[in-house]
């Protein structure tokens, strides 16, 4: 979607710089779905995700003047979303706990899974993980952080980060398999 380069988008950004409420609303409408897709992975519920999304948008509106209009908005916004979500997780301080894992099972091919499980269900699987597993999994797999960075941000050791990831994967694999075997669960 070429919304970053369109004139309308530029006008929206200029309006946000002037703290025009209608421009802020327009930007919110445009990127709300994307923001929710990022934040929902870090939270346990929709309402919690909305809080994180709103905090992120507040940071965007307060710092919109620092955003150069010639840059793509989405990556800048994504960074804010992920950082806000991580800060939200850190405040809750549950990510340091580790939960015992079950044995992992073989995962079917990706395409087969995606044809049978929709996005919402995948998200629900991620949300069912403990916060510590969920956070590390999201940061490493989806958002591309390295274990060293994850350890520094969350204040845990690298080995804890790696073990959490392994356990998260094992748990998800188990859940995906169970879902495929019994889609009505």
């Amino acid at each position: 979607m070429e919304k970053d380069s369109s004139k309308d988008f530029q006008l929206i950004i200029e309006g946000c710089c002037k703290r025009d409420r209608s421009s802020q609303n327009a930007l919110y409408k445009l990127y709300y779905p994307y923001a929710m897709s990022v934040c929902i992975r870090y939270t346990e519920s929709n309402s919690e995700a909305i809080c994180v999304v709103n905090d992120s948008f507040l940071k965007v509106f307060n710092n919109i003047k620092k955003f150069g209009i010639d840059r793509p908005f989405k990556p800048w916004f994504r960074r804010i979303l992920v950082n806000t979500a991580i800060n939200h997780v850190k405040k809750q301080k549950k990510f340091k706990k580790e939960v015992a894992m079950d044995e992992a099972r073989t995962t079917p091919y990706v395409e087969d899974v995606l044809s049978q499980i929709n996005y919402r269900e995948l998200i629900a699987l991620v949300q069912s993980l403990s916060q510590s597993y969920r956070t590390v999994f999201n940061m490493y797999v989806i958002d591309g952080y390295k274990h060293k960075e994850i350890a520094k941000i969350l204040g845990i050791s690298e080995s804890t980060s790696k073990s959490n990831l392994t356990r998260a994967r094992a748990k998800l694999q188990e859940l995906v398999t169970a879902k495929l075997n019994n889609p009505y669960v």
């Binding site: 209608s22 609303n25 709300y32 709103n54 307060n62 996005y119 797999v141 694999q173 995906v176």
Partner: protein, 445 residues
Amino acid sequence: MSDKDSKDLDTLFQMGSEQYDFEYNPDAWGQMETLLEKDKRKRGLIWWWLIGFGILLLLGGIWYYNVRPIVTEIPLLKQAVEKQKIQDKTNNVGQDNQTDLLGSQKPANVDEKMIKKTIFPSSKVETKNDKKGKIPIKKPINQPIVNTIVQTQETIPKITVNTLNVDNEDIKKATENTSQLDVPHLTSVEIETQENNPISSEAIATQTTYLISPISSLPYVYLDIGKKKPVFLEFDQVLSQADHSSFDPFLRIGIVLASEITAVGSDNISKPDFKVGIQIEYNYNRKYSTSIGANYIRKNYEAGKGEYIPPQGFWTRAIAPQSTQGVCNILELPVMIGYYPRGTAQTGFYAKVGLTSYLMLRERYDYSYDLPDSDLKRKWGTRDQTEHWFGIGKFSLGHQKVYKNGMSKQLAAYLQAPLTGIGHGNVKMWSIGMRLVVHLKTAKK
């Protein structure tokens, strides 16, 4: 789990995360608006704190450079006082006990390194030990001694008159002359009389600073000169300052320049607006004055939802805008009462309180809505010249500097509080700013 399995799992969720299907949630936007309002209020409070701090800094700076007492160290006085001690001992005059340089009876505001400056006349002083480089002190024979302590601080200086040879007629005669002394820091002077107290070393030592005038038929005069170059004065010139019982009211006209910011409610702080005008001040009393003025200002402000309240039926389909930007040309007519603790004709701090009237010469408004409806009112203006008599309360704190040629300059911080709604939208606008008044002429009544 094997690496392939891990990779497959990762890919699964990465691809899945790209297929989001969330829809816009109006309730979420409602929560967002609440956050935005809270943030706006918070930013507004920060500005008020910064402005208050800035005003404090400014007043502190003015006090530091203009009001605090200045002392300079003159080591020669030590020699002079020592000399006087010896002379007193020799003459056996009123010396009760030995005291050090500053004396055990030093005033409360004199510290151990307090300075005294003594300047003696060049040629006509007769002393016993008149050597080059040393400063002699001579106590005149059969001459009344007048000690005048003229402080640059808040205390009113006193003239201590030794009643040995000066009677009330002399004092009364001298006080009839009300010409102003040519000493910038000299304030009003009081007279107090002492009974036959000859000057002793303790008395000299306890003076903060003093100056001895040339010998003449009139008594000596000692003046505290602060940091300025001393001026030799005759007795009658000094005593003329003691005339504080009568005051000539006077009028002065000034040019006003000001800059202020406006806030509606507790937020929506505007950019600075500039004001220009004239002021006429009538100083009817030593410490009080009344002033009226006329100032022109082009005021910019923003009012949030609910802060701009026009007459009923003004909004299209009763839909009020989210925010209103106002630009108003205003003629401001302040009426103030001023209080000058150090005197209306003196350099020092002052306070003013009063009421201001706003005559709206022109009003222009831009209305912003959440809705895109094209029939909603977006702009409006009027030249109706609404009048708000005494609708704004005003308070200011400032510093006045009076110059020798009758000119004076006042710099003040002020606050304007709404007593009524202003303009078409009945907006309650607060203003805070800085004001400079230059009085061009002082005319006595």
